[in-house]
């Protein structure tokens, strides 16, 4: 079974630039998550999709972050413009999710450095 695919693996940009991350979840997984993990901290949920609909984006900084999940499969997360504090690892995860928080399968993440 193929895992969750993310790209790019690393990205270095200057502040005020824009950046996009891509995620391909495990086939058949209805729920897709984007987490932000700052060095030394646990993952923080940014946005959660079920199929192609958003079910939770309460912690997404909507003035600069946006995400979409076209056709309920792949997803992209965009930051525009980036700030220094956005430096983090962005993790994508997916799950079958039958409504009670099943286990998540994570990708390797994209490490973003904003200079």
């Amino acid at each position: 079974e193929a895992g969750v695919a993310q790209s790019p693996r690393y990205k270095i940009i200057e502040k005020r630039q824009s950046v996009a991350f891509w995620c391909n979840p495990i086939s058949g997984h209805a729920t897709l998550y984007w987490y932000q993990q700052i060095l030394g901290q646990g993952p923080k949920l940014l946005i959660q999709f079920q199929n192609n609909g958003v079910v939770d984006d309460s912690q997404l900084p909507k003035d600069r972050f946006s995400a979409e999940r076209l056709k309920g499969v792949d997803s992209t997360l965009k930051i525009q413009p980036a700030k220094l504090e956005d430096s983090a690892v962005y993790l994508c995860a997916s799950s079958l999710d039958r409504g009670s928080g099943e286990k998540l399968f994570f990708g390797s993440g994209t490490q973003l450095s904003v200079l």
């Binding site: 729920t31 923080k44 009670s100 928080g101 099943e102 286990k103 490490q111």
Partner: protein, 114 residues
């Protein structure tokens, strides 16, 4: 917001010793999960314990859950150098729509010395 708080933040032991990590949370949950993260990698699911369970085993892992105290512990027995990683607890609850919601704690960094 972070739901779980883990203790200790860092733990260093010798190979062969047992490692115990604790997690406390604040709100009601459907399940509690533990994940491992090796440096520079994504998280890997270790074990899930449901709110109506008190103890669960998987290989060298033992998880307990005390819903009255809103706490859980992860025990790794006979640790190996390869167990060196960060360990996170995550609480699962009902989210919006028909989905679950998983909130992670800050993690415990475990170092196992050979």
């Amino acid at each position: 917001s972070q739901q779980g708080e883990e203790d200790p933040q860092a733990l260093s032991i010798q190979e062969g010793e047992n490692a115990t990590m604790n997690c406390s949370y604040k709100t009601s949950i459907n399940n509690l999960q533990w994940y491992r993260q090796n440096s520079g990698r994504g998280l890997v699911h270790l074990i899930l314990i449901r709110s109506n369970e008190r103890e669960k085993h998987s290989g060298r892992l033992r998880v307990t859950l005390d819903t009255s105290k809103k706490s859980s512990s992860l025990l790794i027995t006979a640790s190996r150098a390869a167990d060196t990683a960060s360990y996170f607890c995550a609480t699962g609850s009902h989210g919006s729509g028909n989905t679950g919601k998983l909130i992670f704690g800050q993690g415990t960094t475990l170092q196992v010395k050979p």
